[in-house]
């Protein structure tokens, strides 16, 4: 009798990886070696048992539906710029946006509340309120959608150049961010028919949208601060830019980030706190 089959040959045998010559040789040996036959049988049983045991986790239906919707949009060449998937962890961290259906309902509800607010806010200008509403809706849509940002990076030197040629203005991103604040990426979006840079940050698990656009009028009050349904909207103006931030994070922490961005526009970088 020849030497026993090596482990590599036995594994290749049960995995169907032997060449015709190797297979013929192995079969010859197995015909006269009970030990190797037993080993090969056990390896084969282990393989089939592993195949069954390994089929353990089924994807949730909503994931399959979401991916099917994405794929069909891509195949049809139709892409809505505002429909971006957010990582599941991020969606779940927001809590109230666990399901797309709920998200749509919340958007509708908030839009209604926003409209009521605008009607009652006699002191606010119509343009100002409309802009705030649009910014607010855009942020909520970003949270509820499930597509990654158009540019995904934590590097300001990646995010800023991405906008070259896409917007008719430039801006600076802060080098030093407040504690527990990270840059997630950015999107090109539109507000009032104007191209806008939407920077996406996270403060802890809270997501923040910072909208930057070319200054066009007195629509954003200097040092604007508005609270709406648990979200805070605040902004500032420079000589060239209008900047609006929206998030459900603590307003003091949002203000820290807004301050860092403001200082970045003037070249006065802050130290992280």
């Amino acid at each position: 009798m020849t030497d026993h089959l090596s482990p590599a040959i036995v594994n290749a045998l049960v995995d169907g990886e032997l060449t015709a010559d190797q297979l013929a040789g192995a079969n010859l040996h197995l015909a006269e070696c009970p030990r190797c036959t037993s080993v090969a049988l056990h390896q084969s049983l282990l393989k089939s048992a592993t195949a069954k045991a390994g089929q353990r986790y089924a994807p949730p239906p909503q994931l399959q539906e979401r991916l099917a919707r994405l794929a069909s949009q891509e195949d049809s060449g139709f892409q809505t710029p505002w429909f971006r998937p957010v990582p599941v962890t991020a969606v779940r961290s927001v809590g109230r946006f666990g399901l797309m259906g709920w998200a749509a309902a919340v958007v509708l509800l908030l839009a209604s509340v926003s409209m009521m607010f605008v009607q009652r806010a006699e002191t606010a200008s119509a343009e100002h309120a409309a802009l705030v509403t649009e910014v607010f809706d855009q942020h909520v849509a970003t949270l509820a959608a499930n597509i990654a940002p158009q540019v995904v990076s934590t590097d300001r030197h990646t995010v800023k150049p991405w906008f070259q040629g896409k917007i008719p203005f430039s801006f600076n991103l802060p080098q030093n961010l407040p504690n527990d604040t990270t840059l997630d990426g950015a999107d090109l979006t539109y507000l009032r028919d104007q191209p806008v840079a939407q920077l996406l940050y996270s403060i802890g698990k809270h997501r923040v949208s910072i909208f930057l656009r070319q200054k066009s009028g007195a629509e954003v009050a200097n040092e604007l601060v508005t609270e709406r349904s648990g979200f805070h909207v605040m902004g500032f103006r420079t000589n060239d830019l209008e900047v609006v931030a929206v998030s459900d994070v603590d307003p003091a922490r949002l203000a820290e980030l807004v301050s860092a961005i403001k200082h970045a526009q003037t070249g006065d970088q802050q130290q992280p706190k």
Partner: protein, 201 residues
Amino acid sequence: MTMRLPWKRKAREAGPQTSRFEDLALPLVPSLYNVAFWLSRNATDAEDLVQETFLKALRGFDSFEPGSNFKAWIFRILRNTYLTSRTGLAARRTVALEDELNESGASGPAQYPEAAIDRQTPETNLFQLADRAALQVAMETLPPPLLEVILLCDVEEMKYREIATTLEIPIGTVMSRIARARVALRAALETQYKPQREFSA
């Protein structure tokens, strides 16, 4: 000049080839999710992994050659996405050193402890293998490099060459990892059943 990448060999599946991403990718979502869950050990992370893989594949689909091996291509994206994920980075830090130390010469006879097979009766072996839950627990003990290779080989029924392409490792390493994974599975099963045997004896 167009470089022909290894995963772009002809797919084994018979039947008409389709070039639509939807038709190619959606049937693989259950497999991608299953492997992602095994690797991340977490439903939320698995969903994120699959979603990110899907988006990367969608964006890079123009570079995919129609008719080539889509499954190996998208699993490679999944694997690379996992390696750069939080759980993947943590797993790599944990097992990298051990894996490197044991990798060389792994296909030799010393990697295959005969006692792992001969020690038990055929009846005991069959009983263990029929216990799906016990085998799943045994699989959970495998380090990621061994788990991923056994998932691709036994569950996804990939050939060694496809696995090598997906994991970006030599075929010899694929073979040695499969051998080590099966030895480790048997050892883990034996550990689970050992107290019962001692008790019954």
